[in-house]
Symmetry: C2
Subunit: 349 residues, 2 copies
DNA sequence: CTCCTGGACGGTAACGTTTCCAACGTTTTA
DNA sequence: TAAAACGTTGGAAACGTTACCGTCCAGGAG
């Protein structure tokens, strides 16, 4: 009873040749009509368009992209964990902008090693994408130099290649956070740092500058470098630092995920130092103590990157590599406005 | 002074022909080596591989996909707002699975009308993707029937076409939520419904079934249909229902975003009905009252969908359309365990 | 009236790959 | 020893589109 399975009708999709035959015109004419229709008599164009509608013709983008010079109408976006709202916002925004210009976005996700990133990028390049948006990992990106594809880096620059970069004012953000805490009299501020990404270094620099400007010395034992950038690591570090004989009166968490860990530890310990986070996050205002953060317009980051890349890809923009920096602003919600002495107010057991 | 701009080195990427010349073999041989190298003498294959390395050759995926039958090595994923962690999880998981098989994922986002969805899908099809994963909007998807591309629907089925579908047990989830509240003596349970997606209807059905099984009648005035699926709408609706003379003692929010609105309203009103949400969300356990939710493995949803689609695309799976349903489970955190009389405990002003 | 110009259109060569077929040399079989 | 079978290889066609180059016809200029 091994009758052949009725697999699929598998209707062959009509090509330009079919359209040409149907409309009684040449192949070139159909192509001209599809691409704006210059140099075609109005009446002819009508006939072609009618044939297109009747057959339900749709241009084969793959064949189109095969022609030399014609890159595909796709942009590539390479980033880390989409589950991180930060990355998700970038993805969404760039998708939106690309879509408006008829571009699709091919995603490459890389949670892994820098080697995995390189592989993912080359995969994408072999798909003839018109441009690359990359939230780069550490590691050298010089291999992109000869790829013949415009590249825009997002959130942080890459080494080994000079290209456009769209980022936020990390140093300014770090400065604002520290200034805010310092201005309230905090002098022992811990800063919790995710693994040494470029961004984190800048935030730390801003943090230090604010201290210098305020004439307060940074206690280096309160500059805490985490081995990993997740909430668990931050929770552990917070617990440790708060149990020291001389704990900080304020904590600056350099990442949205880190804030979560910090708050978790503080909740357990019943201690209430001031807390400021970097990057806003959903529900930040609904936590037991609403969380003060330094925020920036992440979606705008994605939009600017996509727009810039589209301009580069079309050749409309031939300026030297740009460096776009978006501002950060403080959002006061409560956790960052606790005075220094409140840390001593440990709730009685 | 109009010297020509040093636009780009624009190194022509080597093709198989270049490799063939370099290795002193024919074009076909190179192709055979690149595709697994069957039917090529080992020594010849070595030479070809050496040439590939020296030239840094990489196969042009676009040209490859042009051949008839050979779809591209890309899957398309069409979904709503990536900013919603639910969608983001699906995207991340499917990306991961696709990547393991060397497939890229092209994203199509559709916040707009059903018409926008159709356009996005057709765009994607014109890119010769090997398969489509769609989180469908309302509207007829019959137009996909003749597209000649395998389709897997995610989270909810679509009308007008019979295709694979991977979803969670919405009815079971709704039932579990209601059972949990009913078992604690709640008899007036409000259910807040996002606009009539398929999923929400199922959750409501489970909600009703649990009531019937418990012998409790559903007060239809507590079945609240929102005009929009966002937190604001839920906040408004919650405020209204809680201010009625006979407010509910429990609320079931049918969506993660709705929970936010519900809690916001309750916070303002200083009222404490039991609350259960559908779908888990970050920080749910850190809110003033940790939120009890009915959760399922969303990432698994994406993984299963991607795997199924890959099997369909490769022709490895020719079974009739599958229907995969993932279970839901209750996560008790506190908000759903408040007894009925606690609602009366309005905090004194 | 002839020549020229220019717009509209048809035909065809690419693009880089895969696949098929033919050709070749070697080994096995009759 | 001849024929057949097999494995390895080269060459060419095809995929669907765009770009270029002619051809054709109409109309204006000389």
């Amino acid at each position: 009873m091994s009758e052949t399975f009725p697999t699929k009708p598998e209707v062959a999709r009509p090509t330009m040749i079919d359209v040409a035959r149907r409309a009684g015109v040449g192949l070139g004419t159909v192509s001209r009509v599809v691409n704006g229709g210059h140099g075609v008599r109005d009446e002819t164009a009508q006939r072609v368009r009618a044939a297109i509608d009747e057959l339900g013709f749709q241009r084969n983008e793959v064949a189109r992209a095969l022609r030399p010079g014609k890159k595909s109408t796709s942009l590539a976006l390479v980033l880390g964990d989409l589950t991180n709202p930060f990355y998700a916002s970038i993805a969404k925004a760039s998708l939106e902008i690309a879509g408006q210009s008829g571009f699709a976005v091919v995603l490459g996700s890389v949670d892994e090693d820098p080697e995995g990133e390189k592989r993912a990028i080359q995969e994408l390049v072999s798909r003839q994408v018109a441009g690359l948006m990359i939230v780069p990992d550490q590691g050298d990106h010089a291999f992109l130099e000869g790829a013949g594809v415009p590249v825009v880096f997002v959130d942080r620059p890459a080494t080994g290649i000079e290209a456009d970069i769209v980022m936020v004012d990390n140093e300014g953000g770090g400065r604002i956070a520290a200034e805010h805490l310092l201005s309230q009299g905090h002098e022992r501020i811990a800063i919790i740092l995710a693994p040494s990404y470029y961004t984190i270094g800048r935030r730390l620099r801003g943090f230090r500058r604010a201290h210098r400007a305020a004439g307060v010395e940074v206690d280096e034992s309160l500059v805490i470098q985490l081995p990993e950038g997740n909430a668990e690591a931050a929770e552990k570090a917070t617990r440790e630092v708060m149990l020291r004989p001389d704990p900080p009166t304020a904590i600056f968490a350099s990442t949205n995920f880190l804030v979560e860990g910090v708050l978790r530890a503080l909740g357990e310990l019943d201690q209430d130092p001031a807390v400021v986070g970097f990057d806003d996050f959903r529900l930040a205002d609904m936590l037991p103590t609403p969380v003060t953060v330094v925020a920036s317009d992440i979606a705008e980051l994605g939009r600017r990157a996509a727009r810039l890349l589209l301009d580069r890809a079309s050749g409309a923009d031939t300026r030297p590599p740009q460096r776009i920096v978006l501002p950060c602003a403080l959002i006061e919600r409560g956790s960052g406005e606790r005075p220094p002495d409140s840390a001593a107010n440990r709730n009685p057991r």
